[in-house]
Subunit: 682 residues, 3 copies
């Protein structure tokens, strides 16, 4: 059945969250819908963990309560994103199919009493999951309040890799499909190293416990296989739904936080991209991580609006120290997602649970009830989201792309790399935050995609880079683009084999240099660079750590040189003219502050002029058919002003500008005349 | 058979320790008893790890060596606490019943070559344990030197929880007994959360490995079950002994250090309470931990004298750095136990072992022999204990009760709590140490018990607090008591479900406030409070960390306010008049120093005047029928004086007072006229 | 067949490394041999991980490629050390014999996909290993380019202990052989402690998971058993080779870095001692660790020249931060090995691997190719090694022996020792480095060997010291030797039982004191000593940490006293005249700096005058039949001069001295007239 249902109907932003009324007595449901209306809730997700309530014994179904619930929500004008409950198999499932349990690397089978899928590779689970999805879709396909299907929950968490017998059998099949012959597999994995050549398919094992470190190409493929198996689980459920319904199907991603899923591939399978996002409590600048997650979500969605399926009204419960949000912070977070393309603001969850693992997770309606600060802010946010209805469908464009390749991250973060201090995540965040602080809106991009629409491309962690993707980057520069590459990029091919010609060989042409040797620094060691850009007035020293390199320069010019450390006297940062563009190479680790002059110089090459914004005032533009919407979020404790923004401030419904005032900790959303020019129209 | 034997016979304190002569040649036994007499030893525990020597093969017994040993001890006037050896099953037991091994959470079966019980739930172990206990009791019931039975060793250590098949089967039976129906279990565990509803008893598993965190009510019940199984093991052995003997039965507790046993329940099952205590070497104030352990032991014993079964003459061997006791320290430790109610001073062990895991554990007779400092102090301590014979049977009373509820601790210290920095143990120790430094003697108390005899009740960590127990505390205050409650109290019910009405709801009336939200602090973050008590001269600032809260005040008055941090400007510490009493609430974590003004103010409400004692001079009174005994222990390097203590100093046998002098590092025990008034007579 | 083959043939030093051409296309082999000749390579090891290529299916062999390879190498004049490939069983082996996998302590079976032996105790592996060794030896026994056999790879790493069923069965057999009767085993293990007495051999288990700590004598025996099983694997392969060949057999040790092998025993089984050595990257003074490893290798070889089988041209890949060598460092490392007795300079590996776990390991020919710094230095080093041909066969002698007893280390580093801060390795390194800095060449020695040739013996970590070995040390002193003993020595016998008479009892006579009690210090605690040697001008304070002791002095004189800490006022360092010699005892932990005055005083007793060398200039003498060779390595950034060294500097081929100049970071090797006198001629 083709997807013809559209969602949402009408021009409005969604507001609501996960709703688990099965945890409460029936009378509470009535209070719930009354309070939802008070808070402006127009959308909820239901049934996410309800498998055992819908199918209390294998093959016995109970839909009565769900019928009643959906009717009640419909009567109150609340749209429903109806879930398949397959992320929480019932206890009877584990008891009936004990060998369908996920098995850890060390051989421990994971049982019931918690949540998390069974083995994605086990036929019993595949069958049971498809079946319950089909039953639900069949029953509620035409229910008027159901506007979308929510499959499963956060694929890849809390478990991803599986070492069960079922997984190993599926793995061999997957490998046959990928490689065709054992010779091809042996070649790809380099099994002649350490004498690992396979002579029979049945001899290939999962990368389980081994005496020394395991074959890294095998492990990389196991990450691909894991992603594939999870995705196959999703598409099987999706297709089971499609047999009954033409409404859109989604599943909630975890954007930057789920290492087991390759969202570029996943986004192609969903009708609408959804995301869950939670602040990292230990990070005092968690709002930057939020922006990165939102930008990634928008990017995998191809720029289309997306759904913020879950975030939190205040603290979560599963981090070491669960920091509560302070007044105004929830609204800043919610509207930052909207600014970066979300058309729904959703929470986990509507009402705080009294029991279970997440009883200390905040909710729209907290344990303390409607007298609480959180409730008051939830109601006010509902009003604000309502005032932004016209933003629905508008999009965000960016001048800068930051490369994000999940396969590279899988490869890079394995064991036995040159230095444990080099982590892809750290570099991605550092470059992203530098761009964020400079007021630039960023898309995440795959190195193999068309990059011609961007003024600048930044590659903070492209350890695995195929020759084809490197050629794509080279062409991009030749055609006039500006490329910034961080160290430990272009090292291996798709099988984690070092490129012929040495480290970074596929980038040699565009960077104008080769990397002769890595010079990791000792723990805590710092080195100093002399930064000598074209403009001598900007000369200064920069501090770096973790990494240095022994570079062999071809055509690149030196813009910073090591003053000390193992690379003393040699090039640290270079710039290479290639065709109509320029490629920068940063061969050491600079902190966010010290990245500033480097990127500023690269912006100049790219023709980018960063906007003048006060520190920690976040400004993003959503572009609609008839208007632009400038969303300005003040993360500071002082009022801020933004020049040159005139129009109507929608939250307060008042004229704004030409100097936009944003109160301390506040948000402003201004409808302005559409900008011409600027970023690409993608 | 009713327990009619009394112990000890005659008015004397016991002195001795674990005696393991089976490790030594027969000629050493003669030297042992000679040296025991030299040291004043009148009591030993024997046979604790002797199963394989008494039953070398299943069903074959060898009692000859034990006959000879008991006769030798009897001939030398040494009383024996005769053990059942079930804490060390023989190798043949493990080989014959491999499935009776304890299995860890992760599925590892624990085998022989060490010590520690087999699975408490396995019939083979239950049978074998009862059998050997019965055989020993039968043979030695009438031996005149046996004055008591010592069952097993330190139940719950080194292993508590067990995930063997036998355990899981017993667990299901225990749950049936506890809940009757699956509906009741599902309700209690809140299994509708995360779709965990059970439809068959056989589907219920132990809280083993799961993909995400396990149901916390289930885990809490597993702690109760574990405690129950261990206790059933004890009572089975006890009852097997009772069929043959009317002498009292005990087992050695580990007081504050054994998280798997609920001593309130255990103490009801023993005839005499015994305890083992070892200093925490890393704690420079380990003597305060000792006092807490001794007070807890006395409290679970209902105030009756108890047995210090084991402590050490110097270092132990199982801590990371095993700090030796310095001259005089052993005597201070031993007599501190006596001060807090011990009628026996026992050691592990008499003679240092040459082999095995504890060869580096100190002993009464160390490897270095009788020329050593330790031996000289052991002999002198024997003399001192002898001089205190008349203390036997005297008791200790306290004005202050500190709440201790093992079930609450089990619940609180699970995963996914608001902050990993909040540990019940830390707060219990902090409040206890504040009271200790203030010179107050403290009972530990269960929140559900009659508290009317105490002037003040302190609740440092009552996370799990049933509505009934909260009502008990409320009545206590209404009737004139003073209650001090620390944060994160009154949160959940007996099933780890948040109380209806929100956090701390059952305490809302007595505290005069509600807790709207937790505001955990970041790692290392500190906040400042303005302490503004009634007496403005005492106004000051206080430092706090780890935790703050968003309070909703009803009738409570603010006595300290946050100056900064997430709760800046709001109440931090409150006082509420309720009925004839007052309830204090401390919503953040204060160090021991900064707790001082808060408790001083609460003492005033309670009508408590802390005694004037020099810092680190510990004073406790034991009250006999005809006299009080003031025990004063000087933990400092300088002589101390104590005013108003006159009578006879028993250790030296000289008149003392009215200014009692206690030498640096020394102890004085003064027989004085009985005090009238003061603490409650319980 | 007797070993009659000699190696190397002719007077030359070997230069080369592991060569794994099977990872590369055939055309690369031609480039390889061409470049080997350019670099002066005259020796390679081949076939180390080639099992699956030589025996692709069980019983099917493919020697064609090896035939071709050996002929190619022979044609280019490159000697081959031909390996048995048993350190990397093929995937078919694991699939065919799954129960031959090594099992960890916690029961995890280790499978394929990596490297590392199967269970040394499993008959299938034993058979398969002997078989492939025999096949290879049979085929290539007479190949003219094969000069030596290289068995397996780094026995004991990456796995040593094995808890498989096969291991447990072999363990029981080994115990029967060692003890004869169960009574003897029970006595040796002290199983009467904790009731562990065994009544049947089949009841004895491996020291696997247990509730509390495992019997330490059992664990110590398991270390002996593990070493024995690995060694039996070696000797079985060696003997299989001997049936076909009289060429020497070796295997590559890991000297100081492999805790599972007792090299004193291993060295007796090989024809030539070989060693692998890698710098510890985190150690800024890794070159001292190199010297220790080289000295240990020479010592276990009985002073005979040895083979440096593997080291690295630059960084390795398996440490947390893999620090690259800086210019000149490789040569300093290589020639330091030569200085201490190596006749071959070998690398892992010839050409950097593109795939697999070690792709980031440096090589003679790096990824960056022949344009790289590393390649240039490899070529230059080849020239230098060639210039040192005449050093072949010369030896090194030492005045000082430092005790090294693997059994003692196994025993000491178990659980439940008095302090986790005491590690044998730390003390060995500290004393070794003190001697290194003082310019003294050191042999490692077993405490039971003839020590009469040494002026001084240092015992930094002799926890396990049998009465016989202690008597050997006592005799050594009585006969005029100088002995320096560090704390925690002489504590237990061969079964980890405390010596009768107390700690250090077997050393009481020679040290003139007893150790009454250990006084471990708290974490981070420091104490101060007053050092009062005979010469009052040298009086000073010394800082110590970790450990102190309560000593009972008999005849020893105090040379340093504790000023504070738990042993305040008592002896810290003593000196005892015994017979014609002196024994020093250092009862606390001194840093390398503070050890200086103590050892200087001991040198005086020993009649040792440390040479005058600049700090971090390493000087070692190799003595040939006609000349001495002074190797001087300048580890500093400044030029150094060495007085009194005259002759011919071989690397440059120029006259040198009488003031030898060594450039910053450089090495000089001077042929001089042979010294008379000096160290012993062993």
């Amino acid at each position: 059945m083709a997807v013809t249902g559209t969602w949402p109907t009408g021009r409005t932003l969604g507001y609501g969250g996960d709703y688990n009324p099965e945890q409460w007595p029936r009378e509470t449901w009535d209070e719930d819908v009354r309070l939802m209306r008070e808070a402006g809730v127009n959308y909820v997700s239901v049934g996410i963990f309800s498998w055992v309530l819908l199918e209390p014994r294998e093959g016995e179904y109970d839909f009565a309560w769900m019928d009643e619930l959906l009717d009640l929500l419909h009567a109150n004008g609340i749209m429903v994103d109806l879930a398949t409950p397959t992320a929480a198999p019932p206890a009877w499932f584990y008891a009936t199919y004990p060998d369908a349990r996920v098995v850890t690397h060390d051989g421990i089978a994971l049982g019931p009493g918690s949540r998390g899928a069974a083995s994605p590779s086990h036929p019993a689970y595949q069958t049971a999951a498809r079946n319950i999805a089909s039953r639900i879709a069949e029953r509620y396909a035409d229910h008027p309040t159901v506007v979308m299907w929510h499959v499963h929950n956060e694929y890849g968490a809390p478990v991803g890799e599986d070492f069960s017998d079922a997984a190993v059998a599926a793995w061999r099949e997957w490998l046959r499909g990928r490689y065709g012959t054992l010779d091809a597999l042996n070649e790809a994995w380099g099994t002649r190293f350490w004498g690992q050549v396979y002579g029979e398919w049945e001899h290939v094992t999962a990368p389980g416990p081994t005496p020394s470190t395991v074959n890294q190409a095998q492990k990389l493929d196991y990450a691909r296989f894991t992603d594939h198996q999870l995705r196959a689980l999703f598409t099987a459920e999706r297709d089971a739904i499609r047999e009954h319904s033409d409404k859109p199907v989604t599943t909630n991603f975890m954007a930057a936080e789920c290492p087991t899923t390759d969202l570029w591939a996943w986004a192609r399978e969903v009708d609408v991209v959804s995301n869950d996002h939670y602040l990292t409590a230990a990070d005092p600048r968690g709002h930057v991580g939020l922006a990165l997650a939102a930008d990634l979500t928008r990017s995998v969605a191809g720029g289309k609006p997306w759904i913020l399926m879950e975030h939190s009204s205040s603290a979560v419960n599963w981090q070491p120290r669960n920091i509560a949000k302070r007044p105004g912070e929830m609204a800043r977070n919610s509207l930052a997602h909207v600014a970066r393309g979300a058309d729904v603001v959703g929470f986990f969850q509507w009402r705080a649970s009294r029991y279970g693992a997440e009883k200390f997770h905040s909710a729209m309606l907290p344990h303390a009830g409607t007298g609480s600060r959180v409730w008051r802010e939830v109601v006010e946010l509902g009003r604000q989201v309502g005032a932004l209805a016209e933003l629905q469908g508008s999009t965000v464009s960016a001048d800068v792309a930051l490369l994000w390749d999940t396969e590279s991250f899988w490869a890079q973060d394995q064991e036995w790399r040159p230095s444990v201090d080099v982590r892809h995540k750290e570099r991605v965040r550092a470059y992203y935050e530098r761009l964020w602080r400079d007021g630039l809106t960023v898309d995440l991009a795959h190195p193999g995609q068309d990059l011609s629409g961007y003024r600048m491309v930044v590659a903070p962690a492209s350890y695995l880079l195929t020759a084809e993707d490197a050629a794509n980057l080279t062409r991009y520069v030749a055609d006039g683009g500006t490329l910034v590459v961080s160290f430990f990029s272009g090292i291996v091919d798709a099988h984690d084999a070092v490129h012929p010609g040495g480290y970074a060989a596929p980038l040699r042409e565009v960077l104008g240099l080769g990397v002769d040797e890595f010079l990791p620094l000792r723990e805590g060691e710092e080195v100093t660079l002399a930064w000598s850009p074209g403009d001598a007035a900007e000369a200064r020293t920069l501090a770096a750590d973790v990494w240095a390199e022994d570079l062999a320069l071809d055509t690149a010019e030196i813009v910073a040189r090591h003053l000390d450390g193992p690379a003393a006297g040699t090039a640290a940062i270079t710039r290479n003219a290639h065709g109509a563009g320029h490629a920068w190479y940063v061969s050491t680790r600079l902190g966010i502050e010290d990245l500033a002059p480097v990127l500023r110089a690269a912006y100049a090459d790219a023709g980018i002029t960063p906007p003048e914004v006060a520190e920690d005032v976040e400004v993003v533009v959503r572009r609609g058919a008839e208007a632009d919407y400038v969303v300005a979020i003040n993360h500071t404790d002082a009022p801020a002003t933004l020049p040159g923004v005139a129009g109507t401030e929608l939250l307060a419904g008042v004229p704004a500008g030409p100097e936009l005032k944003i109160p301390a900790g506040g948000v402003a959303v201004v409808r302005t005349a559409p900008r011409d020019g600027g970023g690409p129209d993608r």
